[in-house]
Symmetry: C2
């Protein structure tokens, strides 16, 4: 087993993954390289950092020329930004991913076929679009209603074909909305799902841009890192030719999120949530999935939190006051 | 209603479409331009011909700069060739389609948003992969097992996002295997489905590379032209945000094809079919769909033949001895 590369290793999930790989390595003797536009000042200690843009084909080629055996690909323009900046979204979320796969194919061919890394790609439940069944099953069609979702669905199809052809191994995991994200709000349309928990727990006001009956699908940052670790060591022969997986998560309404926060932190904290409807965000979120029956992923051993209370406790334990 | 452009207008289906538009125009006063690498010598008479490569971005841009209101996009590298020539398949079947959509977006923007053509794109049932239900429904996932299928599924996702953003209107139609194709065998892995009917009816031997229990999904070239015409005038508001349609067809086994040929043309004709197993073709075809329940397309008025006997009769009537 060779080295590990995390593309998008400076982001929140990339840093969580790097921290768990540091604390409990998959392969103790091998190094982890993080690649991203930039890094937090107090990031994962033992990892090597490489700075650059995922759209820089020469740079990606040089990273792949070192033949990392395990590659996590997490780099993306988030949903809200991909919706407003059409060109940037397609360049990064599709174009750069195709460039990355081409670099792998080139190295695979240069090695006489022996280089065949495992790629774990973070896709998203944004690949789905309404109308939805009560629970989305493992054979439900992809009909994305955002450019971000279309770009993720396309990247899954690209990855699957490169795997089928034998250039690499791996899988795409469709992450639930990761909640509670530590740090600041980002440009993802889903950012408020974390904000309404995180900001009040930090004594700050939070904006709620949608109505409280919105139901959505969540997992914690700790689960996200766990999904990635599990995907890294999974027996991929169990996947057959279907290399994109719906993952487990917690289905709950915004009201249930708020009531869980009230149970854990009290009325004064909940009072910091301020409803302020935002039509742009409401429209995007209305096209998102609400619930899943992720039977394949559960059978393959992927695990998330049992309820939203636990998701809040994970935030308090792992990130609050860090 | 402005002019009509058929990209891939020199191919078999493009020529069938052009011939029906010539005989019975959708819009009598407007011209039809056919674009392709080349054209048959006795092609559709009234159409304007433009010769070139669909991967030539400048050429595609110049065709779109004339602002055709109706565009049929049929150009593709066929499945067998896309499987053996990986680069060419991706360049034409995905790259050129993206270039085409970008040319439309540019013209849409240059027109201040008023140019918004209808695009009818020929996708394929190769977007699906096994394991299959008995009949594939309208909400079944895309899990292609050929590069061709992946490229078609990706093109559908691209088109849907450009439609959602308002740059164009239209839909993708997932054609059944078109059978009986007139003329010569081509590099499509499905070519034999036509060959085993066409060659014997022309007094020639035909190779059967798969076993007779292979079940598949067919429609005639006449139906293909009919699907395209119907898609051109369909009320697209009925499609909502799901712009890729499974079309009606005939599900039958190779044995049923052969027995239909025997009923119509007799034992001596059937005796010209020579079984000669080909593992490469068997592997590709084993991953193809067998049957569908295309409820949306039927409700929208798309029509195919009732049985394979009728598919053979259409060939005899439209193409044999032409």
């Amino acid at each position: 087993m060779g080295e590990t590369l995390i593309i998008g290793g400076g982001g929140m999930v990339g840093q969580k993954l790097a921290a768990t790989l540091d604390a409990s390595p998959l392969h103790p003797d091998k190094k982890v390289t993080l690649f991203d536009l930039g890094f937090p000042t107090n990031g994962a200690p033992a990892a090597v950092r490489a700075t650059g843009n995922a759209t820089d084909a020469a740079l990606i080629k040089s990273l792949i020329s070192k033949r990392p055996e395990m590659i996590f690909h997490l780099a993306a323009i988030v949903s809200g930004e991909a919706e407003t900046n059409f060109d940037l979204g397609w360049q990064v979320n599709m174009g750069a991913f195709q460039t990355f796969l081409e670099a792998i194919r080139e190295e695979h061919n240069a090695s006489g076929g022996s280089y065949r890394p495992r790629v774990v790609f973070t896709s998203s439940i944004a690949v789905f679009g309404p109308p939805f069944p009560d629970k989305i099953g493992d054979e439900f069609l992809c009909a994305p209603q955002t450019s971000y979702g279309a770009q993720k669905a396309i990247s899954e199809l690209l990855l699957s074909d490169y795997i089928r052809k034998g250039f690499c191994d791996g899988l795409a995991i469709r992450l639930p909305t990761i909640c509670v994200r530590p740090g600041k709000a980002n440009l993802a349309a889903s950012s408020f799902f974390s904000g309404i928990i995180r900001e009040p727990l930090n004594g700050q006001e939070a904006i709620l841009p949608v109505s409280t009956d919105v139901r959505h699908w969540h997992a914690s940052p700790r689960s996200a890192a766990g999904f990635l670790r599990h995907a890294a060591t999974l027996d991929t022969s169990l996947l057959g030719n279907r290399r994109a997986l719906n993952l487990p998560g917690v289905s709950c309404t915004v009201e249930e999120q708020i009531e869980a926060l009230r149970d854990i932190a009290g009325n004064d904290v909940v009072a910091l949530i301020k409803p302020e409807p935002d039509d742009a965000i409401r429209t995007i979120v209305a096209g998102w999935p609400r619930d899943f029956a992720p039977e394949r992923a559960v059978a393959l051993g992927f695990k998330a939190e049992p309820d939203f209370h636990e998701i809040i406790r994970v935030y308090i334990n792992d990130d609050l006051n860090q």
